[in-house]
Amino acid sequence: MAAKRKKRRMGLEEKKAMMGYVFVLPFIIGLLTFFLFPMIQSFIFSLNVIEVVEGGYTLRPNGINYYKTALLQYVSTANEGKSFMTLIGEGLAAMATQVLLVVIFSFFAANLLNQKFRGRSVARAIFFLPVILMSGVIIAVDSGDLLQSSMGLTQTDAQEGSFQAVALARVLLSTRLDTRFVDFIVSAVNRIYEIVSASGVQILVFLAGLQSISPSLFEASNIEGATGWENFWKITFPMVSPLILVNTVYTVIDTLTNSNSVVMTIIRDEAFRNAKYGLSSAMAWIYFVAIMLVVAIITGIISRLVFYQE
């Protein structure tokens, strides 16, 4: 009897495993045709000289020359003759500050929006608005726009924005804080708009996390006489800490693969403006490996610090 029941159960498990493949099948097809195959092809392109001919293209083996070019010789005329690797390095450095600021800001904002106050739903609606306002082509058009910057908020605002920041820097420096810390604060103030507009999705994730914390935890700790401050550090923070990892990784990827970034622009221009498909592919692969490394390192560091319930 027992054996019979076990056999039937196995049948269901097997059937469910089969159905799993059925549900995931569209992804497997897409992965093969629109991702893995193009990835392999792009790798092959990076090792060949591609010439576009009538009705197609020809490949001429080129070894790792394009990788050598990208790593050692390439200079970008559009970016003051900096090398490709310098530009990647600068991109990564800028990313580090950006990610730190975005994660801190979105955590702060989510906590604000989680409190009860009048007009909360309006405030939430506006806080998520950058998801719409600052996406794709709009961000490309807005950044560096003449009238937008002359009227105030974007980073290109050379006169007023930096003027205030200088005053702020002077005040902060007079308090004998560490210069690096002052630089960080000043850059945060200068980029406040950029940070707020890059935080929409992250606020959403943190907010959803805050709301998934069971209220009974707070009730219990309030009975024990904990203050709001203690509640925050002993309950709220550890409970949402896994989301810090999620949001950090999301922001890293979002910042680095943003098609308006300098490196991305170079990769696109080499392909479609200068028709150097092989070089462009090699650069894209180098950049991809760099991003993978960064994501792996960050995940490694943060996941040690994160608190998991189970």
Binding site: G20, V24, M39, Q41, F127
Partner: protein, 332 residues
């Protein structure tokens, strides 16, 4: 007696005092909070306000130093110029159709795929899901050239060539978007799969098991039991995919340049289009030169026109959207 009275009043006083301090603290915080929230809201809305203010300015206002925000000679001519030069109505309809098609297809495919990852155990699941994350990490620029060539002469193992004598030309139309969306490979689809998977993972197993016991099949359980409760997560995914498809310039410029007219491509090339339009209008032999300020004014008007429909959609959807976050379980 007197002492007792004093004691009571003291207690009351003390209590009263504490209460005031507490209330003051709370009041102080709500003022600070109000200022912060209003400040950030202003920061977010400001560029759009600027766009609107600029869009109703006339050319004189732009060069008038006394005009900073409010136009002295407000006009709607900019809108007229931009709408004709961008061929706005045509681009709008195409974008609407494209965004609706793709976001519905992505919603369907990502929900099915996400459910598969969340609720079934099968060999290679971990690896496949890791690949979902990898598709997010890989910069689309890495696969852009192969994808372009892929759709330029589309073929599956030479079948089309065998039947039609030549591979299919799919660039310039809806096909690349439809094919990629149907297979969960569209713009940021890895993220959507992740959201849906997290949501379904958070749902109690007993719900499904009860349905199986009652004799419902796997598909029936999926669309009768699991889908209705997944509506908040699906709404979030739909809104994201609709909006991001609407403003997407990467895939649009890769697959559609010279083909289907969509808003994002039209916006990228708007100053050139306006220069040409004005040249034709004035019948001049050389292309009209747009000063940087003037061109910026047209670009701001055009980008306002591109986001306007999205703002309207958001105005309607935000209530459900904001409410639904609490139940999305994005993070489950």
């Amino acid at each position: 007696m007197n002492a007792m009275l004093e004691k009571i009043t003291n207690i009351k006083l003390f209590g009263h005092h504490r209460l005031t301090g507490y209330t003051l603290g709370r009041l102080g915080w709500s003022i600070v909070r109000g200022v912060i929230i209003i400040g950030i809201c202003f920061l977010i809305l400001y560029p759009t306000m600027v766009k609107f203010l600029v869009s109703v300015m006339s050319e004189q206002d732009l060069y008038d130093i006394s005009v900073k925000y409010i136009a002295k000679n407000p006009t709607l001519d900019n809108y007229k110029t931009v709408i004709t030069a961008m061929k706005y109505p045509e681009a709008f309809w195409n974008t609407l159709k494209l965004s609706l098609f793709t976001s519905i297809m992505q919603l369907v495919s990502c929900t099915i795929i996400g459910y598969g990852f969340a609720r079934f155990k099968f060999k290679g699941r971990g690896l496949l899901f890791a690949l979902v994350i990898i598709t997010l990490i890989v910069p689309p620029q890495t696969i852009m050239i192969p994808l372009y060539l892929h759709f330029k002469d589309f073929d599956i193992l030479g079948i089309f060539k065998l039947i039609l004598g030549k591979p299919l030309k799919l660039l310039g139309g809806y096909a690349p978007f439809v094919l990629m969306s149907a297979t969960g490979m569209g713009l940021k689809n890895g993220l959507y799969i992740y959201i849906i998977r997290q949501f379904f993972r958070g749902m109690p197993k007993e719900l499904e098991e009860a349905a199986y016991v009652d004799g419902a099949g796997l598909f029936r359980t999926f669309y009768k039991i699991m889908l209705p409760s997944a509506v908040p997560a699906m709404l979030t995914v739909f809104l994201f995919s609709f909006v991001w498809q609407w403003t997407d310039s990467f895939y649009s410029s890769l697959f559609l340049s010279g083909g289907l007219r969509v808003l994002s491509n039209a916006l990228s090339g708007v100053s050139h289009a306006i220069a040409l339009h004005l040249t034709n209008l004035r019948g001049s032999a050389t292309t009209v030169y747009l000063s940087p300020v003037l061109s910026s004014m047209y670009i701001n008007t055009a980008s306002l026109l591109v986001i306007l429909p999205l703002l309207l959609v958001y105005l309607v959807a935000q209530r459900y959207f904001v409410e639904s976050i609490e139940r999305t379980g994005i993070v489950g």
